[in-house]
């Protein structure tokens, strides 16, 4: 029987969760003996095949329309979806922006900030539009959660292996943290 397929992607993200994933170091060999990694933002193929994968991992929050589109695409193509890290699970640091009027926030970032000269708010049609920041499960159905900012390499390894083997991830004790 073929190994289950695993794909990861990131949304509104600092990349810390993927760095923590890389911190599993040589355990990546053990992981890849159990699953095939089809794609990730840090490998050459970025998106899972249209035929789908068994396990999808998403880090980062949904802070703009592009994030929502990617989240929906992953939901469609992944049997089970894991929200990785505080941004995907809770909304994370980006949610600080929710307390402010969107126009105010954009103006502050692109025009008023002290290091900006001749600023303007980009409005190209090709750009995603910012939205109220939200965690992944307010956009698509999520099957598993691993909080942490970032979650530790141990927590990520144990969780991925458990999910790939069809078990409940052991997110408790030392592996469970919100910071």
């Amino acid at each position: 029987m073929e190994k289950p397929k695993l794909a990861t992607d990131w949304l509104a993200d600092c990349a810390g969760c993927h760095m923590s994933l890389l911190d599993i170091d040589e355990r990546i060999v053990a992981l890849l003996e159990k699953a095939t990694l089809t794609s990730s933002p840090i490998t050459d193929l970025k998106h899972p095949p249209e035929t789908g994968v068994e396990l999808g991992v998403l880090s980062g929050a949904c802070g703009n329309t592009s994030n929502v589109a990617v989240a929906r695409m992953m939901r469609k193509r992944c049997g089970k979806l894991l929200a990785l890290g505080d941004c995907a699970v809770f909304g994370g640091i980006l949610s600080l922006r929710n307390g402010f009027d969107m126009k105010e926030a954009l103006s502050r970032a692109y025009i008023e900030s002290e290091s900006t000269v001749d600023g303007f708010i980009p409005d190209s049609e090709e750009l995603a539009k910012p939205i109220r920041n939200r965690p992944l499960d307010q956009v698509v159905e999520v099957d598993a959660y691993l909080p942490g900012c970032p979650p530790s390499a141990d927590a990520i390894f144990e969780t991925l292996v458990a999910l790939v083997e069809g078990r409940e991830p052991p997110v408790e004790g030392e592996l469970l943290k919100y910071d």
Binding site: D86, G91, S95, F100, P135, C149, E172, L176, K177, Y178
Partner: protein, 570 residues
């Protein structure tokens, strides 16, 4: 004492009647999680985390406030209870903005700990995320309403422990907000920044500015010490990391029961003056650095050259027991030079004393005689005004303005003290707190009360009780001498004191800061309060330990060591 028989999780127990299920569980060694509960505060049953099943009743009961009854059967960990506790936590996280990754309390937050203990990996109820205000209007600590869980510990602390009654709530349901007075910014309210609310807050809603992000409780060490900023002598725990004191906490086990005031908790670490780093000798008008040997030799020479009666040493009442002893040993015993107190001291015999802070809690009648408690001995003021709730009689006897006026049930001028004392009923527990340097005539009247009342004298400085017991005198002002040795520690000398001291021919200033260095011929640097080891006498007349929270900087020596070294040369 009557008892009842109950079972907890099937285990039979006999416990005192009238206690709560939470207290009974503790006796049985059963842990029940809580959030709004605090050992120093009355229970309110606000958080509902401590719910338990009682006798298959349809509703779960909060164990913190539910009293035990005969033949009661309690389940603390049934599936119903565990589901409900998780639900309570999920609801708490569904309101406001609880983001651990940038919160300074993460790692020490009771809400977070309970969420970890209950295995919460996500928030099932989408949070609407309105932004709640952050009130940074107070000088020393701020309130972030985004992190508040409305446990009401701050309200109870402000009302029941210090009786300031600043904090309350406005509005209802999900709009409920902790508020100061009539919804004023805390910095503009009746808040006195005693920090008791800060000490009891379970989350990062109340944050101490100076120590924020400086380390978790497991990263810091605590030095168990005594505050030296007034003669109450509150017990403190000084949190330190990498030899830097971060903040001062009140010790719940001290006679102050965890309470401090803005002076001991915050002003004590908010020093703006420049520290003296090295001994200095004035040469051709300017102070230049010298070694300890050079400075002490120079001082000894001056003392020996002076007729004994024209030399004097002045020691502040803030000095530790050990320092006072060493000063007497060096000056009086070795050199025959008189040692005096910088602050006024009562003269005459021992003062009526023996009163304990705990006596206040039981007293039916409390006399406050010529002390301005909420200005000079705040923690005492807080402790006494609490008694208004019990309708104790609080009798204020003074002639000048007094901060306790609004809490007193009766007021008498000092001349009418006899009338005030006559109001005492037999069988009343009476507590008397009085200014130590009252005129002898008034003190005699208090002596007469010794069988009927407990008495507590309060002094102008932390350790004047000790200065007094050592027989130190105080003149009307620092007199003109040939040699004046002034051990001032961190005292800020007044203009009158400075002018007075400067009249002497040769002045030695032994202290922490350089604000008065301009009047000195020799300057000796002293350790700051959190660098010293020794003891003080507190308001109960008991020796209270002072422990160093940080080492002395290179070049600074303990006062006792300096005085002993000087004695050797005299």
């Amino acid at each position: 004492m009557s008892t009842v028989n109950i079972t907890i999780n099937g285990k039979p127990l006999t416990v005192p009647a009238g206690i709560t299920v939470l207290e009974a569980a503790k006796l049985a060694g059963v842990e029940i999680p809580t959030l709004c509960h605090h050992p120093a505060l009355e229970h309110v049953g606000a958080c509902r985390l401590c719910v338990v099943e009682v006798d298959n009743q349809p509703a779960l009961q909060p164990s913190c406030s539910y009293p035990v009854f005969e033949d009661m059967h309690v389940q603390t960990e049934s599936e119903r209870v565990m589901d409900m506790r998780r639900f309570v936590l999920e609801l708490l996280f569904s309101e406001r903005n609880h983001y651990c990754m940038f919160c300074e309390m993460s790692g020490d937050c009771e809400l977070q700990t309970q969420a970890y203990n209950h295995g919460l990996v996500n928030w099932p109820y989408p949070a609407p995320h309105p932004r709640y205000p952050v009130d940074a209007s107070r000088q020393y600590f701020l309130m972030d309403h985004n992190r508040c869980i409305l446990c009401r510990r701050c309200i109870r602390a402000c009302g029941d422990i210090v009786a300031n009654h600043t904090i309350g709530v406005h509005s209802r349901g999900s709009r409920t907000m902790i508020t100061a007075d009539m919804d004023a910014p805390f910095g503009d309210s009746t808040c006195v920044e005693c920090g008791t609310c800060l000490q009891v807050c379970p989350t990062g809603a109340l944050v101490d500015r100076k120590s924020a992000y400086m380390g978790r409780r497991k990263d810091v060490t605590f030095a168990s010490s005594t505050c030296s900023f007034c003669s109450v002598g509150c017990r403190t725990l000084v949190a330190t990391r990498n030899e830097r004191p971060l903040r001062v906490e009140g010790d719940w086990d001290g006679h102050n029961t965890g309470v401090l005031c803005i002076v001991g908790r915050f002003h004590s670490l908010d020093e703006k003056r420049n520290r003296l780093a090295t001994p200095m000798i004035r040469k051709s008008g300017t102070l230049s650095p010298a070694t300890w040997d050079e400075a002490l030799d120079y001082i000894a020479k001056a003392v020996k050259a002076s007729p004994k009666e024209k030399a004097k040493a002045w020691v502040t009442g803030k000095a530790l027991n050990e320092t006072l002893d060493a000063a007497i040993s060096a000056f009086k015993d070795k050199a025959g030079v008189e040692v005096r107190s910088l602050e006024p001291l009562p003269q005459g015999g021992p003062l009526p004393n023996g009163g304990k802070m705990a006596d206040i809690d039981q007293a039916d009648r409390i006399f406050i005689i010529d002390v301005d408690l909420l200005a000079d001995h705040r923690v005492m003021g807080y402790r006494i005004r609490r008694c208004r709730e019990r309708e104790a009689a609080i009798i204020l006897c003074c002639d000048s303005d007094n901060s306790m006026v609004q809490y007193a049930t009766a007021r008498y001028p000092l001349a009418k003290l006899d009338d005030a004392l006559k109001e005492c009923r037999p069988d009343e527990k009476v507590f008397v707190v009085y200014r130590a340097d009252l005129p002898a005539a008034i003190r005699e009247k208090l002596e007469a009360l010794k069988d009927k009342a407990t008495l507590m004298p309060l002094y102008n400085a932390a350790n004047l009780a000790r200065s007094m017991s050592l027989g130190l005198k105080h003149g009307a002002e620092v007199q003109e001498c040939q040699v004046a040795y002034v051990l001032a520690r961190d005292l800020a000398l007044s203009q009158e004191q400075r002018t007075s001291i400067r009249k002497s021919a040769f002045v030695v200033l032994h202290g922490c800061y350089d604000d008065a260095a301009d009047i000195a011929d020799v300057v000796l640097p002293a350790p700051v309060w959190f660098e010293e080891e020794g003891a003080l006498i507190n308001a109960e007349g008991i020796e209270s330990p002072v422990r160093a929270a940080a080492p002395m900087p290179e070049g600074i020596r303990a006062e006792t060591s300096v005085l002993q070294d000087l004695a050797a040369r005299l």
